[in-house]
């Protein structure tokens, strides 16, 4: 078991900066999720922790030891890949056994450890099969078993669920979280899926363009976003971001007028989540653009000026399009961002 420290990590590919000056402390036994759109540097960061890529600058410390100069094979780190990366010529049994053989673990221990790992992911009866004879979900579980079997200090998971269908993803998510809690191994998990991030993580690191945007628990990330990127990335549907101006304690934009704190002044962006918008009232005056019932909730899109605002309405809400409508924003959950997209916080 180990903590991980990244100190001022920079990764450059020629002129392109993959990761810029990243510092991060990952606690022992923590489940940390790196979240961001593709190309944001999250996979590069993980590959540097694994030792598959070298940082251009900065230090990586695992379990108190600087590992920059240590080859991937000698770091006590297990990785699960997006494409499973099972060895096609070996049976599942041999696949799971491979890291044990490579690490010189006594052969007498192999069988018991392989069966324990396989049982953990419910693959006990598939050990004789070749990877080609398994379904996607089974292959991913085999890859998990291969990572688990040698009890590494750190698990790294690179979008392990992105090749699976939605239903399987949900059940695998629970399985991964359960396993991580059971084994108490420090885990770094890369994904671009915010639901995975929210459900799995102890803490989420949101990245964009090679830089950390915000680090926090899922609750903090959701309810206290640091900038418009984080606000717009988390939540489904994401937060409404409305550009307008604030003066003398009031924010206005076409069709919208809400009270705002005195310290918010000038050109600003108002952020309000769909669930903090309620049908009725007059903070927003617009027309119904579309209604999407999903069963447990109805998504309502309202046109205010040229801006479309998402509202989570009651499950039985129905309306024709173009009907005039008023919306109230929950005053306790309004977020204001400056022109650079950074959150404006009160000085008080």
């Amino acid at each position: 078991m180990a903590s991980i420290h990244l100190q001022n990590i920079v990764k450059r590919y020629g002129g392109f900066v993959g990761v810029q000056n990243m510092s991060l402390d990952i606690a022992d036994e923590e489940f940390l999720v790196l979240l961001g759109p593709s190309g944001c540097g999250k996979t590069t960061t993980m590959r540097m922790i694994a030792g598959l890529e070298e940082p251009t600058e900065g230090q990586i410390v695992i379990g108190g030891e600087v590992v920059n100069e240590i080859d991937a094979r000698d770091r006590d780190v297990a990785m699960v890949f997006q494409g499973y990366a099972l060895y096609p010529n070996m049976s599942i049994y041999e696949n799971i056994r491979f890291p044990l053989r490579m690490r010189g673990i006594p052969a007498s221990e192999h069988d018991a450890r392989i069966r324990k790992a396989a049982d953990m992911v419910e693959l006990g009866s598939f050990l004789d099969r070749k990877p080609g004879a398994l379904s996607g979900g089974q292959r991913q579980r085999a890859a998990l078993a291969r990572a688990v079997v040698r009890q590494p200090q750190v698990f790294l998971m690179d979008e392990p669920l992105s090749n699976l269908d939605a239903k399987l993803r949900q059940s695998m998510r629970v399985q991964i979280k359960h396993m991580q809690r059971q084994l108490k191994v420090t885990t770094v998990y890369v994904t671009h899926d915010q639901i995975e991030a929210m459900t799995l993580a102890d803490r989420i690191v949101i990245m964009n363009k090679g830089a950390i945007q915000q680090v926090g628990t899922p609750d903090e990330i959701y309810s206290d976003p640091a900038n418009t990127f984080v606000a717009g990335f988390i939540g489904s549907p994401p937060m409404n971001l409305i550009e307008g101006s604030a003066r003398d304690g009031r924010f206005t934009a076409p069709g919208i007028s809400v009270p705002c704190p005195q310290f918010v002044q000038g050109k600003v962006t108002l952020g309000v989540r769909p669930e903090d918008c309620h049908v009725g009232g007059d903070n927003l005056q617009g027309q119904v653009y579309g209604v999407e019932p999903t069963g447990d909730v109805t998504y309502l899109t309202v046109l205010a000026g040229t801006k479309k605002i998402e509202v989570k309405a009651a499950r039985d809400y129905r309306s024709d399009i173009d009907v005039p409508i008023g919306i109230t924003f929950d005053p306790a959950h309004l977020y204001f961002f400056d022109e650079g997209g950074q959150r404006i916080r009160g000085t008080a």
């Binding site: 030792g51 094979r73 780190v77 990785m79 990366a85 060895y87 010529n89 491979f98 890291p99």
Partner: protein
């Protein structure tokens, strides 16, 4: 509906007729020398057409008694198998380096290796003759083995490299984080994963080696080193003039091993021959 089905059946029949006809044209020479090989000598040289040939094993008996066919076959097998083994030992690591390691001039080296194939063999015939003469390796099977290996090395490297390029990089990353070093990765992951490619390359190299003529003619001067291809060319049938039915039979015997090899790798052959066409 019925008309559609009928015309479909007709087009299928037409397809079989055309392809069958073409196959017959291709196979005709082989059928022809097979038919000559099993006819009596007199029937072969008669100017009148013979529509119902007589079956005869004369040529076979002549071969077995007069011609060291076993020796030639043995020479062929030793030279070919040996050369393929040398090729694989050298080509597999080379292909791995060319497909995986990033180094300056990688593409140039890859192209240089392939370009050795583009030269007319006759250009190096004389230097090679003197080289082997100096080494005292003329008229020896070992010399043929080395020459075949050298001729086919570029092709074998290139075919295996194209298969290795198709192996996902993730597999190696996984093996590396599992604790494997470069050689272990090559031995336990890469080679088994591109085994079809390695077999294809080996068979193609074997076919080229079996058919090699120019250098074999240059190096081999007696039955010490004669392989089937050269023995065949020197074979006239014996002391009583050209014996066509025996020549035909020998040709057929020389053809059989290649036929077997091709049938074995039929599935992979087209892939091997278009190697690097998609990923270069």
């Amino acid at each position: 509906m019925a008309t559609a089905r009928k015309s479909r059946g007709e087009s299928l029949l037409l397809r079989y007729l055309v392809l069958g006809g073409w196959a017959l044209v291709c196979l005709l020479p082989i059928l022809w020398f097979l038919s000559i090989g099993f006819r009596p000598r007199t029937e072969v040289i008669t100017p009148q057409p013979i529509y119902w040939p007589t079956f005869s094993l004369d040529a076979w008996h002549l071969l077995v008694s007069d011609w060291p066919i076993a020796q030639y076959l043995r020479n062929s097998v030793i030279a070919v198998v040996g050369s393929v083994i040398i090729d694989l030992i050298l080509a597999i690591p080379a292909a791995y380096a060319l497909s995986r390691y990033e180094f300056k001039g990688r593409e140039d080296i890859g192209f240089y290796i392939l370009s050795t194939r583009m030269m007319a063999p006759a250009i190096v015939a004389v230097p090679i003759f003197f080289l082997f003469k100096t080494m005292g390796l003329l008229d020896s099977v070992w010399a043929l083995m080395l020459i075949y290996a050298a001729i086919n090395l570029s092709l074998v490297t290139w075919i295996i490299r194209s298969y290795m390029l198709d192996i996902p990089k993730e597999l190696e990353d996984a093996a590396r984080t599992d604790g494997a070093g470069d050689l272990t990765i090559l031995r336990e992951i890469i080679v088994p994963a591109c085994l079809p490619g390695i077999i294809t390359a080996a068979v193609i190299a074997a076919i080229f080696a079996i058919n090699e003529f120019l250098f074999t003619l240059l190096i081999a001067s007696t039955s010490n080193a004669y392989t089937m291809s050269v023995a065949l060319a020197n074979f006239t049938g014996g002391s009583d003039g050209i014996i066509y039915n025996a020549i035909a039979l020998v040709s057929f015997i020389a053809f059989v091993p290649i036929l077997i090899l091709v049938i074995l790798i039929q599935k992979h052959l087209s892939r091997g021959l278009t190697m690097g066409a998609v990923k270069g």
